[in-house]
Amino acid sequence: MRRIKFLLKKEFKQIFRNKAMLPLIFVMPVIQLLILVNAATFEIKNIDVAVLDQDHSQTSKAIVNKLLSTGYYRIVENVANLKDGQLLMDQNKIDLLLQFPSKFESDLQRDNKAVIMLDVSAIDGSAASIIYYYTNSIIFDFNTSLVQKWHNLPTNLSLPIKVENRYWFNEELDYKNYITPGLVVILVTMIGMFLSSMNIVREKEMGTIEQLNVTPITKSQFIISKLTPFWIIGMFEMAFGLGVGKLIFDFPILGSVPLLFAFSAIYLVVILSMGLIISTITNTQQQAMLISWFLLVIFILMSGLFTAVENMPEWAQKITAFNPVTYFMQLIRMVLLKGSEFKHVVHHFVIMSVMAVVSVVLALVTYRKRA
């Protein structure tokens, strides 16, 4: 016990005397959180449009006005021909080119059918399909009210089914509520993984590991003293990130906070042991960093931070079953946003505990008291 105490003192001294690291550990994540939460949104707010109106009729103008009245569309330019429109799209100035062919209005009246051409810039495929569906639904609404006007139908032509949408847990569909807890998980994971994976290998590079190896410290004492400081920093980082996030973005906290911290306590053991394993099997800090970066990128991308795990193909979902970040990502959102209780997340706790045991054992086995 005394040995561990001394070792812990040593580790903390090493962490805190590095003045350049401290702001990186404690300030950077907060700044990141503030900036990135605002950046991370798939919402489409401004759709830049060019209009190619070859009809110049009342109807075509009314449709353009209807689009503008939603507040989502901005007319960049009225173009005279298709080539100009295409150029604007090439220059990234517009997302949508709206074309009304000549005789649009008269076609609509006479033939009962008229065509509007929508050219969507589709490099971002999912944004393109949202723009298309949204524009289409506005035009459809316009069409319905136009028909009612032309045929003098009662304005509230009632449909047999009324669909009522209720958005539970996040009525305003505020994306920040969703992304802030997720980013806290990412920051805690990144910092934990990097600090621990750089630790032993740094002692190797500096040669100080040999001094430790010739002492009577046992393997488990060594691993405990390496894990504990980072575990404390990680838990602090978690509380700090959540606190700052709560203060600034005010996401709801429906569930039990102790439950959340109990889980992160286990989770950090998994992440930090992985870091230590990386640290023992590598020879240079550069290697350690690259390996942990590689793992982190895959963990994070497959964690469901931005894109739901449910949308992944079957084989990818099987891989994510081994991804600790996925479980934490799910759990933090369930507990905070949905108020899930322990009985809802038993599964997560069991798996994370198994992962913790396995990774600690692996860390013990891989570390050898040899240089």
């Binding site: 590095n18 690291m21 990186l24 950077m28 994540p29 900036i35 605002n38 950046a39 949104t41 798939f42 489409i44 799209m89 090439d90 997302d95 609509l108 065509v115 509007i116 051409m117 929508l118 050219d119 589709a122 490099i123 971002d124 495929g125 393109a128 298309y132 289409n136 319905t144 136009l146 449909l159 047999p160 089914i161 009324k162 669909v163 209720r166 958005y167 539970w168 996040n170 009525e171 969703y178 990097f194 240079t284 800090q285 290697q287 970066w293 590689f294 991308l301 497959m302 931005f306 894109t307 739901a308 449910e310 949308n311 193909p313 990818a316 799910q330 369930m334 949905k338 209780e341 809802h344």
Partner: protein, 366 residues
């Protein structure tokens, strides 16, 4: 000149004898391209839903089977009250609940049927998409049942320019190239330089007759070549596996690649003039550069949707401009006549960081 070649040889030895680093350097882009190409997607597939059918008549069954017939939804469970639904949401068993009122068929003919779509909006994105899909299917169902035929129809014809099949990988390949180049160029050079400081070998280099300029050039040139090679690997994967088009000029793309790599290298050199330890260099490169590069550059999230302040801030990232350039060349087939502002911006970055590094470069160590 001879000195430089010898020096570069030394650097290559450093790089190539570290086989683990090499493995990751080349494994990483491949893994990322495949992940983005296959696994990371916003397309909804088999979303788990629960149904609370209070009428259980022909009409409601018809509607339910119509909804389940699509690829979007899969029945996870049958609920019998709101508690079932809430519990399922809380344990993550389903994301959407469809509540059909009693006597659905009768109400349908009275035009008074209220259907509830309850969505787990803790993921607002998915909630939105799912509600759109479900509402669309229900609207279609109504039209079919009523045999509804509207006069004076406006039909929209859509053309998905640049990416007719809406493949996600078209968006991601330019982004992955950018991120990998930032890693290899910025991160590795800043580490390579600070490592010499940390190990004390920098002093040996500085007392040698080599000019500081040669030291720096010799240090970064190998990484330029590695970066280029990596970019090629990603491009070839994009072309062969994911059938990305290449509409523009190869030579122009190569030129822009080199420009961007030089910009990234100059940032790496700048970082290394500012710090003495590998850990700090790494943390700066990773935290201050990597996350913003991924999130603020338009790689994943559209810049146009960000708050104004962040849109302005995104201009300090060379990656933002480079992503526009790569998309422009590959997917739109445009050249310098369209992309000159972005190209100028990247040249600007090179100048700023080179000048700043020269000012900061200290021939003596503390």
């Amino acid at each position: 000149m001879k000195e430089l070649i010898v020096f570069i040889k030394k650097e290559f030895k450093h790089i190539f004898r570290d086989s683990r680093t090499l493995l990751i350097l080349f494994g990483m882009p491949i893994a990322q391209v495949f992940l983005f190409g296959y696994a990371i997607t916003n397309e909804v597939r088999d979303a788990q839903i629960t149904v609370w059918d209070q009428s259980n008549d022909v009409m409601s069954k018809k509607l339910i089977s119509k909804i389940l017939a699509t690829d979007y939804f899969k029945l996870a469970s049958v609920s019998e009250n709101y508690d079932d639904i809430t519990n399922g949401f809380r344990s993550g068993d389903h994301m959407l609940a469809l509540v059909i009122p009693p006597k659905f068929a009768e109400r349908f003919s009275n035009k008074d049927a209220n259907i509830q779509l309850l969505l787990d909006a803790s993921d607002p994105n998915m909630a939105n998409i799912l509600s759109n899909y479900a509402s669309g299917i229900i609207a279609n169902f109504m039209r079919q049942e009523l045999n509804y035929n509207q006069p004076n129809q406006i039909i929209t014809e859509v053309r998905m320019t640049y990416n007719p099949e809406l493949k996600g990988v078209f968006l991601f390949v330019p982004g992955v190239i950018t991120v990998i180049l930032m890693i290899v160029s910025t991160l590795l050079t800043s580490i390579a330089l600070t490592r010499e400081k940390e190990m004390g070998t920098m002093e040996i280099l500085l007392v040698s007759p080599l000019k500081p300029g040669i030291i720096v050039i010799g240090k970064v040139l190998p990484y330029l070549l590695l970066s280029l090679f990596n970019a090629m690997v990603i491009l070839v994967l994009g072309f062969t596996v994911f059938e990305m088009p290449m509409l523009g000029n190869y030579l122009f793309l190569l030129m822009e690649l080199i420009l961007f790599i030089v910009a990234a290298l100059s940032i790496g050199i700048f970082i290394s003039t500012k710090t003495d330890s590998q850990q700090v260099a790494m943390m700066i490169s990773l935290f201050a550069l990597m996350l913003p590069t991924i999130l603020l550059s338009g790689f994943i999230f559209p810049i146009d949707s960000m708050p104004m302040a962040l849109q302005v801030l995104s201009n300090v990232l060379p990656a933002k401009f480079f992503i526009i350039i790569v998309k422009g060349i590959m997917l739109k087939g445009v050249g310098i006549e369209v992309l000159w502002p972005e190209t100028l911006a990247i040249i600007g970055f090179i100048l700023v960081f080179t000048v700043a590094s020269i000012k900061n470069f200290n021939i003596r160590l503390a």
